[in-house]
Symmetry: C2
Subunit: 209 residues, 2 copies
């Protein structure tokens, strides 16, 4: 949703407010950064998360100072960035980055419904490792008591996207310098078993991950 | 440096305050997230950066609302995270992430010395694309006038690092579930030239990047 604080001061053409742009970025990114404030001091924590419909979930220890600071609804800014490519122009000034980023302004809601808590943990696990949750033993009551789950509305989310090649000034285009794009990609490497798991077969869902 | 706000509330064994841990993380990460506060509202912007000695540099447009908000020394929190691996345990609860992160509490200083401004822009360019700066035409006075360079002290920087395999509870270790680590890696793909650069050879420093 476009509001005063989700409207960028520059490059407004890169801003998007539709779920069709925002949701895929959140679903592809593995981690987000949660920014919050203590006594006028900004703080930031990178963490795992998951999205379902118009909600974003994070989890943490009930003892975490971070979680306890924001769980009662303090304002947070959640940011996600996918760096897609380095954009090399003929001048330093015209260099850029291809990226897809999302910023969410929201206030945490503590999830108390036990079914929603469990579903959120499954979503967070499967966001990082698709199909993992169903392969795990059920979480115990003790584990659930140690875990806080927070949800955030995506109502005030916005995306910024840059794609394409460099935009050099006309007078620079004939310079002999190479210009173009170097794409960046995050890859998952071959799974390496823990010593105590050496005799366990790698399941299908981890085969070409 | 260890201060109240750089001391984590949990997992203190993962915290580090030495340059030998902090500097390589900053040098490997391509982007940081700068968190700041406007009227009690946390804000966050992902951006490129570079480190030299005990300083971190960012740059931006002189017209950027973000830059103008922080350039006079408002407190910021700069965070960087390298996600090294997904740690799969036999229980959901023991899943983890291998990461190297840095958090810096600092106040922006606007760089006014023209030589330092130029050096910072070279550092930021070469941080993303090593050896790029020397291949570019000199920046013009007009380009320099449109650019603000900010520096941040690393005095109050701290790192958190998790490495290694999963730490399952003894009673879970014999479960038939696969456990281990899936390493994550960011790779640069083959450079693709801009249309107007099709006749320019790819320089040595971009071969095998």
């Amino acid at each position: 949703m476009q509001t005063t604080r989700t409207t960028p001061s520059r490059l407004a053409k890169r801003a998007h407010y539709d779920a069709d742009t925002i949701h895929p970025i959140l679903d592809e990114a593995l981690f987000c950064t949660v920014s919050y404030v203590i006594d006028s001091q900004p703080m930031a924590i990178p963490t795992a998360f998951a999205r379902k419909d118009d909600k974003l979930y994070i989890h943490g220890s009930v003892g975490s100072h971070f979680i306890r600071t924001i769980e009662h609804g303090a304002p947070v800014c959640i940011s996600v960035m996918l760096a897609d490519g380095l954009v090399l122009a003929k001048s330093a000034f015209s260099h850029s980055v291809n990226y897809r980023s999302v910023v969410i302004f929201a206030n945490a809601e503590k999830v108390t419904d036990e079914a929603e808590r469990m579903e959120a943990l499954a979503l967070i696990t499967d966001h990082l490792i698709p199909n993992r949750w169903d392969d795990l033993r059920p979480s115990t009551d003790s584990e659930m008591r140690k875990t806080t789950v927070l949800s955030f509305s995506l109502a005030e989310a916005s995306a910024k996207v840059r794609t394409g090649g460099p935009n050099d000034e006309p007078e620079d285009k004939d310079l002999p310098t190479w210009a173009g794009v170097i794409q960046l990609k995050t890859v998952r490497q071959t799974p390496v078993p823990a010593e105590y798991s050496a005799n366990t077969n790698l399941p299908d869902y981890l085969q070409n991950i």
